[in-house]
Amino acid sequence: MSSRDHTELANPFDRSSVSRRWWLLGAIVTIGLLPLVFQDSYWRTNLIVCALNVMLAIGLDFILGYAGQLNLGHSAFYGIGAYVSTLVITKLGLPFWVAFLCGIVLAGAAGMALSMFAVRLRGHYLAIASLGFAVIVHQVLVNWISLTQGPLGIYGIKPPPEIALPGLPVISFGNSANMFYLVAGFALLFYVLLDQLVRSPIGETLTAIREDEVSASSLGINCPAWKVFAFGAGSAVAGAAGAFYASSVGTLVPDAFIITESFTILAMVIVGGMGTLIGPVWGAILLTVLPEVLRGFGDLRLVLYGAALTLVVLFMPGGIVQAAQIVRAQFDRLRARLEAG
């Protein structure tokens, strides 16, 4: 470890704004091509789930990796987004996009409320408080049957309404490719938004809070307010994911948002590389696709999953990003040696 401390810090994904534009273009092209490569509805569903998980992971990373808030209850905001957006449509009869907004706003508000409530708490206290919050949200979804249908579930939730632009063919989201474009488009939008934020002084402020709150406040940083902001932003993104979950899966039951779901999201952030935004994206993709590919292993699947999570923490705590750094360093060294000799 110590040998690395003296080296200059370099993030392989930290690029100038010009090359960031190329990366963005690459991401858009990739998103555009993916449903064409994966034609069957099974893989397209996986793509949508990937996009949902990317949203969840970057939202959690913003809270956890940047603001340093140990949030073990991310599934709660996911669930709030899903249920609020669905109930606003079914109970109030409002259009999807209004409901979508409500889902985001309420999930964000819940995140802010939890954060305000727990503003004095740090570290493990917050971890358990957020865990408790997730248990409460899940139990309310289970028990408030008159509103949420509880475990009886809500079925037949419709995909977002068709978009009919003049002069263009009607875009229907019953089509899995279009649904993927929608969800992935939003995932990309949220990614770019959060990325801009973390590259702005807000990112510096949040990392300062993560590193040392007392120091941060000695620099004029209003730590409680920024923590509330980070929590709100991260959970609002989870709320958006929840709204898309409901409209793409079509079925809602409270058990989709149990606390183990929080752990899964957490694993994505860690495996990808906490404290970088791109890491959790890769972590989400890997941990969504991996279990599907591992289906051939049957019962061994979750054993491998658990083992992988433990091993990553033990041997590669920076996750995929750290692995990429090491590979890059090795590559550079090799190239230097070749050029020299």
Partner: protein
């Protein structure tokens, strides 16, 4: 009605004693290491399975199986510390060990699922269906009586150990201030290992006694652990007395919630209490004043 209320009190105390056994381990670990161990739940489960196989496959005595589970728990504690916490300690992160133990927990649960299968084991001790009549029409089962007696004894022993032995005092010293342990001439790594072994032994033993009460599947421990976390917080992280009181409190809340509201709402009640506690008294039931040194 008064019989019912009294009976619910007894039920609550039984449940609370069990929670205390599980939560005490978490508190001890937290006190010394300031780390959360999610795999604690699986030590409970494995303890229960160890007791089950000892009594049913090998025909052992149930009371002896409690000791076996204690041993199994102790070994597991040693393993978890050696494999996870010790290597991660240098990094000084709050989060990494926590996540590693979540990984270990998923791993253990699914290995157990492979070995033991998902069908619940019917683990009845010879005392499970023994009903002992008490005053005023109340009763307690033999198993529950064992739980109360063994828990009380264990807690008393632990207390005596912490108060009167050198190692125990050193443990408390480390819990309060890690630097002083070094002054006492004790290798803090040994102390941490000891803590893990004691904590996990408690969990294993808890498992052996929970087995005949729980629905024994590879996921049995997880049903208790989240509540154990709540208890640890309500009692004040790292505070042994607080944990005991909080454990009993949660047990009583459960039985009276069942009586007057609905068992489906237990989690909501317990965790709302937890959040209230954190908001208004974040140091737990028994406050410890700590001055931040800057």
């Amino acid at each position: 009605m008064s019989t019912v209320l009294l009976q619910q009190g007894i039920n609550g105390v039984v449940l609370g004693s069990l929670y205390v056994l599980v939560a005490l381990g978490l508190t001890l670990i937290y006190g010394v290491l300031v780390q959360i161990n999610f795999a604690h739940a699986d030590v409970v489960t494995i303890g229960a399975f160890a007791a089950y196989f000892f009594t049913f496959t090998f025909g052992g005595n149930y009371l002896a199986s409690i000791a076996v589970a204690l041993l199994v728990g102790a070994i597991l504690g040693w393993l978890v510390n050696a494999a996870i916490f010790a290597p991660l300690r240098e990094r000084g992160s709050e989060l990494l060990p926590l996540i590693a133990t979540i990984g270990v927990s998923v791993l253990l649960q699914n290995v157990m699922l492979l070995w033991f299968g998902p069908i619940p084991y019917a683990f009845d001790s010879p005392y499970s269906n023994q009903v002992i009549r008490l005053w005023g029409g109340t009763f307690i089962t033999g198993q529950n009586l064992i739980i109360i007696v063994v828990s009380t004894l264990t807690i008393a022993l632990l207390y005596a150990f912490m108060k009167f032995t050198f190692m125990g005092k050193a443990l408390r010293a480390v819990a309060q201030d890690r630097e002083t342990a070094g002054l006492m001439g004790i290798n803090p790594n040994h102390l941490i290992m000891l803590t893990f072994v004691i904590a996990s032994a408690l969990a294993g033993m808890g498992g052996a006694m929970l087995g005949p009460i729980l629905v024994l599947t590879p996921f049995a421990g997880t049903t208790v652990i989240v509540k154990a976390f709540a208890i640890v917080i309500i009692g004040g992280f790292g505070n042994v007395e607080g944990t005991i009181i909080a454990g009993l409190l949660v047990g009583l809340i459960e039985s009276y919630t069942t009586q007057f509201v609905n068992p489906g709402l237990i989690d909501i009640v317990v965790f709302t209490l937890l959040l209230m506690m954190l908001a208004f008294r974040p140091t737990g039931l028994i406050a410890e004043k700590r001055e931040e040194n800057v």
